[in-house]
Symmetry: C2
Subunit: 336 residues, 2 copies
């Protein structure tokens, strides 16, 4: 039995090396450099049969923040835009909201006033637009919005504003036997509506900020779930490793983020034994995308904050910082 | 392109039917009858290319209760036994517990008194034995216990007391492109320790009653998670469909249970469009396993309660009841 296994292992190695030599670059939108090299090394180390850092396929887990890591998060998180744009519809059904703050401000269309809304106001808007309806109604609304809403700068659907180099990383990891997960501060139910089509990540591999649902029956006695304004998981900061444990129950081997909200996930990933990969996307390309964050001496836009402390921890703990400007040949698939 | 696809589809059909005719019975431990037939029909309907009820592979989700559905739940839920047997170890570290109820009773070893402990007492025992330690320490303890603890009647490891016919259903569904999930009232972290080896179900496909964890650092600054006495999901009754939505985000097509705690999961599964399969295991074989529950005019043992109302709903709603006595040729793999 053992000799048969050895033969198989040998054949696998021969096959792997012969195909590797013929294989095309799995990361064509990346410039050569330490970031690209780190990804290639990590995949080789964890998948090379017989290698010291080899990891069995079932344990190959990689986690990805979404906003600012897989797609554009400026000028505002996409889901927050969705919520703001849903307010008129919600107010139609609940007219008293038109006279209540912060809904009055949102309905005024005054961008300056909207930008100044507090976190507390925002929570009220999220609760009003993300809860109180059936799961099925919510899904239908999100699908409808995503099919038409466009980004103010690029004039494209939000689902087109995904980073091509990161799509290649997702595909490369999956082709190497990894299960790829989104671990986002955004709403789990929101992201699940497009994750499969946009990233090839099925809904069951999306971990996000999640509220409770309530089981009930419609008039015909058919059961359905209603989205409740009850927070179960705040999938930010320490909530990311906690959410990974709750939803996956395994330790990730690789994690990708872009802000202080991803710090604990990257620490947690890097803390395990064997080959580990923690990476941070640095938004330093104002021309093709955006440049922001205190680590570059730029203003803290409160969206995807990348502090100097985070940068220092990355250097100290052996994480890799991906420069959008230097490391990415191409940012979007639609670029010529 | 379309003609190539058609050719592939045609080849797939030819291949599928030629292998099907050669294939062995996927459910050899089942007697012929309506239960076995229902499973075979359901799999055929949902996987036959071109059929009216065909379901794409990515949407093939099946959920299984564990206690009493996949393994023995009598005389007591296995995890409760684990908790009771952990009490002496916990009391060593916290000596004041030896003088506090309900720990004093558990430590007395008086079986009659232990059997009379209230639900409130039980909750205290669960909290003391399942929380307050790191996730890694907990995993190690469970693994150690499972490797030695034996069932009082069968004298075998608990992981040997899985139902062979259900193992065949799990394998048959997976071979037919289904993702199989455990959806248990038991502790998610507990079941995840053996689900892969015992059922072929990876930890990320175990949904169970789940508590929160807390992210922190050890003395060397290495991050770890501590299990907290904070309930996030009570995965029983309505908590089952709610947990399925939280953890999977898709509607199951097939669900298997054995008690009133599974009612909502079975209703929810059956409520969707297309082919659906909801099944209940009836414990009616006192000789090979156990017989219990009001639906058979037997006492309610409070473990896996199968009421007459559940039986009536099953008949009315088109669920199938699996009789262990009549439908299962063999219950355990170790039977001669």
């Amino acid at each position: 039995m053992k000799s048969i296994r050895n033969t198989f292992a040998l054949l696998a190695v021969i096959f792997a090396s012969s195909t590797a030599s013929r294989a095309q670059d799995p990361l064509p939108s990346w410039n050569d450099g330490p970031a690209k090299q780190a990804i290639m090394d990590f995949v080789r180390d964890t998948t090379e049969t017989g290698g010291a850092k080899f990891v069995p396929a079932e344990e190959r887990i990689a986690t990805f923040d979404q906003d600012g890591t897989l797609w554009v998060e400026h000028p505002m998180y996409t889901q927050v835009l969705y919520c703001l744009e849903r307010v008129p519809e919600v107010a139609k059904k609940k007219p008293y909201l038109t006279k209540t703050e912060p809904f009055k401000t949102v309905l005024s269309g005054n961008r300056e006033a909207i930008a100044k809304l507090s976190l507390r106001d925002l929570e009220k808007i999220l609760a009003a637009t993300l809860t109180g309806m059936s799961v099925e109604d919510f899904k239908a609304e999100v699908k409808k919005w995503l099919a038409t809403a466009k980004h103010p700068r690029y004039g494209r659907l939000y689902t087109e504003l995904v980073y091509q180099p990161m799509q290649e990383v997702l595909q490369y990891l999956r082709a190497s036997g990894y299960k790829t997960y989104i671990v986002t501060g955004g709403g789990q139910d929101f992201v699940r509506e497009y994750s499969e089509q946009t990233y090839g990540i099925p809904p069951e591999q999306v971990v996000g900020t999640a509220g409770g649902t309530k089981y009930g029956y419609d008039k015909e006695g058919k059961p359905f779930l209603t989205k409740e304004p009850k927070l179960l998981l705040n999938d930010n900061n320490a909530g990311k490793p906690e959410g990974i444990h709750l939803m996956i129950g395994r330790h990730p081997l690789a994690a990708f983020g872009n802000s202080t909200g991803d710090r604990q996930m990257l620490e947690y990933t890097k803390a395990g034994d064997g080959a580990r990969l923690s990476m941070l996307v640095l938004h330093d390309d104002a021309q093709r995308e955006y440049a922001y964050g205190p680590a570059q001496g730029l203003p803290d836009t409160k969206v995807g904050t990348f502090t100097q402390a985070l940068y220092d921890e990355a250097k100290k703990d052996g994480w890799f910082v991906i420069s959008m400007k230097k490391d990415w040949k191409k940012i979007f698939a639609f670029e010529p």
